[in-house]
Each structure stands twice: as C-alpha cells, then as structure tokens.
C-alpha cells in the first residue's frame, strides 16, 4: 500500500484551474521527482498535500488515512514534513531554537509546565535540545547552534531548514527546490545530504526540482507537470527524453549544470 496516495485531485483558485486530475503513489523509501516549467502548479500540489489549501476535488491519503481537511500542523505531526522554495526561516530565532520548534507537537508539558519551570518541562526541553543537536551535527551545522539563523551563509541556512524538517522524524519528506540558488559544489553536497538522509531513515521523498541533474541522481520515478496536469510519468531518462517534456521546457534546458 502506498504511504502517500493522491487520487484525482483538482484545485481551482476562484475560476482559475491550478491543478487537474493529479495522481500520486509514493511508496515507503521511494524517491519521486516533480518537474515542470514555472507556474505549472508544483508548489500548489505541495500546499494541497500539506493542508495549506483544501483541494476542490480529490482524495489525499497518508498511511491509509484520509487527510483532506486536516490542518497543516496536524498533517505535519502525522509524519509529512516539507521545506519551502523560498526558505521560510524565523528571523529572530537561533538555529537551535528552529530545530527545537519543530518538536512542538512532541512536548507534553503543556502550559502549566511552561509557566512554572517544572522538572518535566526542563527534562523535555533538555531531551529536545539533545535531539536537535544530533540533527544539527548530522547536517554539519552544529557549530552555528546559538547563532541567529539569518547570520548564516546561504548553504548553511538551507541545511538548517532541512534539519528542521527532518527533526519531525517524518515518514514522508517534501522538498521544494532544495538546490535553488546553489553553486554546482553546493548542489552536489546537497544531493549527498538528501541521499544520506534517505538511506539512514528510509524516508519516502517527494522532490520538486528544476535541475535535471539532481532529479536523475536521486529519483527513481519522475512526474512532469504542465499547466496543472501530469504530462508524463516514468523513470528520469524516459521523462527527460520525452519530446513533449522537452518542448514544454524549451529554453530552460540550456541552464542546466
């Protein structure tokens, strides 16, 4: 049974059709890619799956359970984590606090624990700090733990964002253009990071990317999305060489590394 299942999803923003008859089957441990020209609706699909919008039509199932209509924080707690294309970090927070914040739903000390500095709260906060440091070390940014995240270099910020998503201990990870703005070296490093995370945690990963190099390195299956509809689905080679995909992408092939 697929871990994440989307059946016949369509979404309209007012009169504008953003997504049409979209389907997805993501098995545990599988890495699937989503490519398509800008404005095709890729991020919208992410937003629909994670609950930011409720699809006008269609079913989204996670682990067999219907998750349409649940709030984004509930869906995240169930085990779907995501990163953002524009990297949404919290300007006034330290790196460590970013990672700890993603553990929000795991804290059980409640409001009274928060007000009263209870031993339970201190214990849980210490545990969360330990876990957060472990993840920061894993992603190579532990030395920045007490820095404000906005002071970090770009590549480090991207890693913090990924660590933040990972600390939820998700079963499914949605990555929205994880290598945007990176140099070729940083890109290869990021590919390695994703690969390691995948192997270590046996994650199912759903990945939006423009850079076909990243897609062909990481993905077992690729979907090509154009104007909200799936054009083609298959292995990276099949999709990359599909004439319709090339046509939709004309001009954008040139900028690949």
């Amino acid at each position: 049974m697929p871990l994440l299942e989307v059946v016949d999803m369509s979404h309209y923003f007012g009169g504008l059709r953003a997504v049409s008859n979209y389907n997805l089957n993501l098995d545990p441990g599988q890495i699937t890619g989503l490519i398509g020209p800008n404005g095709a609706g890729k991020t919208t699909i992410f937003n629909l799956i994670t609950g930011i919008h409720q699809p006008t039509k269609g079913i989204v199932r996670f682990d067999g359970r219907d998750i349409v209509g649940k709030k984004p924080n509930q869906i995240a707690s169930l085990g779907i984590a995501r990163t953002f294309q524009e990297m949404r970090l919290w300007r006034h927070m330290t790196v460590l606090d970013h990672i700890k914040m993603a553990r929000y739903s795991n804290f059980s000390y409640g409001l009274w624990g928060a007000f009263l500095d209870s031993p339970r709260r201190n214990r849980e906060e210490a545990q969360a700090t330990e876990l957060a440091m472990a993840y920061l070390t894993m992603f190579g940014v532990a030395q920045f733990a007490d820095q404000l995240v906005v002071n970090l270099p770009y590549g480090a910020q991207r890693r913090v964002e990924m660590a933040r998503a990972m600390v939820i201990e998700p079963k499914v990870l949605l990555l929205d253009e994880p290598t945007v703005g990176m140099t070729p070296d940083e890109m290869m490093a990021m590919i390695e990071v994703v690969r390691q995370a995948h192997q270590r945690f046996n994650l199912a990963i759903f990945l939006i990317e423009h850079r076909l190099r990243v897609v062909s390195e990481l993905c077992q299956k690729v979907q090509a999305l154009v104007f909200g509809e799936i054009l083609v689905e298959g292995t990276p080679e099949e999709v990359q060489n599909n004439p319709q995909v090339i046509e939709a992408y004309i001009g954008e092939q040139e900028v690949e590394f």
Binding site: K71, P72, L89, W90, S105, L111, N151
Partner: protein, 447 residues
Amino acid sequence: MDETNAPKKGGGIQKITGRLFGSVPLLGYLLAFLACVLWELLAGEPLSRMLGLPQVPMFFGILTIFKVLAALVDYLLKDAPFNGAVLVQIPSALIYFMVIYFAPLVVVARLTVKPANLMARYLQRFPLAVSALFQLGLMYAIFHFWVEVSDYRLITLKLTLIAVLFTLSLNIINGYMGEFSCSHPGFMAIGAYMSSLFSIGLFFDNRILGEAVFHISMAYFTFPLALIFGGLTASAAALIVAIPSFKTRGDYLAIISLAFLFIVKSFLENMQSLGGSRGITGQPNWAALPVIFITVVIGVWFINNFVTSTIGKALNAVRDDEAAAEAMTVNTRKTKMVAFLFGAFWAGVAGGLLAHVMRFINPAMFGIQKLAEVLAMVYFGGLNSVYGSIVGAVSISLLGEALRPLEIFKWIVIPLLLILVMIYRPTGLIAFKEFNIRQIFGPKEVE
C-alpha cells in the same frame, strides 16, 4: 564556512565601564544599594538641611532640579516671582546624589566584588530558588527602606511595579506575538472592576454594590483570589480579540482591539450598577508594597518561564512566519489564543492591583491616555524582551513623575524621547534580549 554575519561587539566607553564594573554580580549591586539606602536614612535629612534643600530629594535629586527649572521657566515666561536663592538647589541636589547614592554605590560595589562573587558562587550550589529568593529579599529590603523616607516614594514605587507587570503583559502580544493590540487598557479595566467587585462586593457594605456577603475577617487572605478573579475575567474577555486573530493580522486586528477598548469603556460608563462614569471607590487597602512586589515578581517569573520555553517561542514562530510554523507542527490557533489570554490575564491582575492602590477606579482611567502610556512603555523599553519591559516601564514612570513640575513640557519631552528611540532603535532600547535568571543571580566571571 564557519564565519557568520553576526555584528561584532565593542566600543570605547563600554570597555572602560566593563573593566571597572564588569565583574560585579547582581548581589554586589544589591548590597551596595542597600548600603546607600540605609546611609540615606541615617544621613539624608541632616545632609539636605546642610545643603539648603527644602526636603530630602525624592528621586535622587532629579525632581528637585526640575522643580527649580520649572520655577525658572515660569519666571521667564509668565513673570512669576522667582527667588534666586533656589538656584543653589541644583548643585545641592547633585551633591546630594553623589554623596548619598553614587559614591557609596560605586565604592561598595567595587570593594565587595570578591566577597559578592564568592557568595553568589556559594549560593549557586543550592537550587536556583534559594539564590533567587535571597536576592529578591535583598531587593525588597532596599525598596522597604527607600520608601520609608516618604509616602510619595511609596506610591510611585507601587505604581511603577504595577506598570512593569502591565507593560510586560502587553509585550507578550505586541512584542512576542508581533501584533498591534490596543485592547490592553480594556483588559486592565475589566481586571480592576472585577477584582473590586470581588473584594468590596463580597466583604463590605458599599453604596453602589450593595451589602457585604461574607464577614470581613476572612477578607484579607482572599486578595489573591480577587486578583486572580480579575485576571480570569480579563482573559475571558480576550476571546473577543483572540478569535478574530485567527483570520486577520496587522491593521485589521488593531482596529478590532481598538473597538474592544471603546466598547469596554462605553460599557463601564453606562453600567450604573458599576458606578457609571463615577466608578467605584472604597477598595480596601490591601495592596501593600510586599503584596505588589510578590505579585509582580511572580508575574515576571511566570511570563519569563513561558517565553523561554519552546511553547512560548512558538509565538515568535507564528509572528515571523506563520505558514512555516504550521508546517513544523506548531498549533498556530492555540498559540495565538494563549498569547492573548495569558497577556490579558496579567493585565487584569495589574488592574486589580491598581484598583486597590488608588482605591478608586473609573472608566476614564482606562482610555486612550492609558493606551498611549502603555504603548510608550513597551516600545520605548523594547519588544520581545523582559528586560525591555522592565526598563521601559520604570523609565517612563519615573520620567513622568520627575517631569511633573514642568507639567505640560512632560508631554513634549516624553513623546520626543520616544520618537528618537523609534528612529534609532525601532524595536525599542533593549529588544529581543533573553532574560536568563540563572545568569542574573549568579556570579559574574571576568572574561
């Protein structure tokens, strides 16, 4: 790769004061201040008489100086009679300040560096509560002796402490949550009225509220209940602002909170059973300095615990990027709800304290004027910071009192000061700085 863009610290005068006083722990300052205050009780009166001052200066001499300046201004602008002899009070006041406060403070602080640090380190061996309570006790002793000089100091200190709690409670919503809430005087009003109802209505015969319900002998120990009752009702009312906050932010929420303020004020003005425009008088004199001190300390402690926990930092996450917070399992609705209700609770408690200090309340006290004052304190002191609220509340309160002789100029100086702060430090003097209790009460290591 390990380099960051964090701003570097430094500066000339900071280095000098750092070298001289960097290693003085809080305990050292407390001991020094205690010495000053006791010294003032002993030598204050004779010294001020010797210096030709009419009375012991109320606020370290600042008030005295402003009184003289006010008389001067009156003379220049309005041809009021001016006794040139009073000019000598200005240097006298300065001398008084140096002799009674500044010199002993500096001397004792410097001399006791080693023993103070030793003691602080010793206290660290016990649970934090021991060190904290000891030093808070010292702080209270300082206040106790300081106000013995005059009742004016007493009431100013009481009002300042209440302002600290009120400002901090607003900072939760405006600073940590990043909204622009104008409803806080409304919460304070509800707390003031409700706690008055509790203490007067239940225990006393009151012209407006009717006969007493219980006997007065049980009364005094129920003051905390009265405060909590005030706080809880304010919290309940906060739902009116909290629930719309799920859907709107920014300007619209500001207007909703402003509407709330006007509604509360209008409601209180029209409820004859609550005294209408004249309000309620006759609150029992239960708001003694220790009670206020303890309540404010508890409030600051609760609030600081909250904002340093991850659940509390969720307020910042919701402020800085709500969508990201939601994607990271943060329950944004609960977070917003807690921020408003918690902030309103402490505003209500502050209101209850205010009612029992002033011993009268009326709707006019909780209008636009109060809003402007508390907004000034929050934004002057600093957003998202316990330090900031304490500094802001104390500064603006004391400044307001000290400038009283200059009357109308007060309302030019304070706004001007605030504008300057807004231009050069838009988020306030001490913003975003974490209040680490362990660090504050602990020894200061020389770097």
